[in-house]
């Protein structure tokens, strides 16, 4: 005698494989919605392009997708890199010559009148050398007409 299976009321029913069960609709993310929208747009555009073969259309859509991805990478990678970089502290330029001088101690000759005089002489000489114009441009010989004649 075969035993009859009595359905148990508390047990959840087993769903056989390949059987589709209607349930509450899944929530799609906004990104997916945008992508779906873009896909739909593209497919509608492509469907209008009747003069292009389906194979070419596929290749074209792949090329467009690749280009879009590359564009996004080009935009976001430097942006992310910049965000990840630590802010560099601004360093003030320091005159090294001044630094070495100021950190050094003055010698006993620093205040000697002879040394101070020589220092002033060197500074004055510097101004004179920089102001010197070798060529007397204002005194270039005047351009004069020396060819006076009444011949044709």
């Amino acid at each position: 005698m075969e035993e009859l299976e009595i359905p148990q009321p508390n047990k959840t029913p087993e769903i056989p494989q390949n059987q589709v069960v209607a349930g509450s609709p899944r929530k799609t993310s906004p990104l997916m919605e945008i992508l779906a929208g873009v896909k739909e747009r593209f497919s509608s555009i492509f469907s209008r392009l009747t003069f292009i073969s389906p194979g070419a259309k596929k290749a074209l859509s792949i090329a467009v997708a690749v280009l879009a991805v590359l564009a996004l990478i080009a935009i976001f990678v430097p942006l992310i890199k910049k965000l990840l970089q630590k802010p560099v502290e601004e360093t003030q330029e320091v005159d090294t010559a001044q630094l070495t001088l100021t950190t050094k101690k003055l010698s006993r000759y620093a205040t000697e009148s002879a040394v101070l005089k020589v220092e002033t002489d060197v500074q004055n000489l510097d101004s004179e050398l920089n102001a010197l114009e070798v060529k007397e441009s204002k005194l270039n010989p005047p351009p004069l007409n020396w060819d006076v004649n009444f011949e044709e």
Partner: protein, 266 residues
Amino acid sequence: MLLASFFIGLFLPGVVFSQDEELTYERVYQDYTYNFDIYRKANSEYESFRLQFLQYKTLTSQENAKEATVKMLLARDEVVKTYLTALRTKLSGTDGIMDDKRNSLYSQIDAEVLWFADHKDKIPSAGTLDDLVKDSDEAAQYYLEKEFLTYDTLVTISTGKIAFLREKQENTLSEIKAKVAEIRTNGDKDTTTLERWTLDTEARITRSREKELEALELLRDLKGKQGKVNTSIYDQIIFKLSESLQYLKEANGYLKEIVNGIKFED
């Protein structure tokens, strides 16, 4: 108060003298540019009346051309005179020139000014256009012969300016060397580096002098064929003198470092 008056009295003559010299040069230079302006207008009129005469050959056009030529020749002689005077004044206000050279240039410039003054006096007595052409050719030939003098003076002024500052620099270097020697004797500071730096400075000054000599050697080639001055050689001379000045600037930079070396401890 008395002390202040003494010091003012001590320095004032020098200041007044140099200002006077500068004023004199400025005035003479203005005189030259003013006369050059008159000449430019006169030359333009001469060109215009010359063309009219060549076109119409009338007595009126001939008379107009003659008048315009006289005006132009007079103005041209005056430009040469005032230009040479400006050049001479600049020469007299420039230090660092040997007396022999200065006096030689003075006498040559004075002679040229005198020549153009005489020539200018002769111009109005010319009776025909041909006479005026002869007068002009005479002046042209003389000016060409003396063109070298102009450039020689210009080179001398440029050389003098550099030589004057080099002499000052050498004096300062001597003072620095004496101070370094004194420090060495005291023995409270290592002077090895300072002594080496003074030698480097001396080498720069020597290079400056060598460049000046190279420039002066080129002066011989300045007079080209038929006495005409080769202006490209003049440019080369100025370039050599600029190099000479550059060495002095470098030497002065070294002097600054030596002074700092003296002022600070090792």
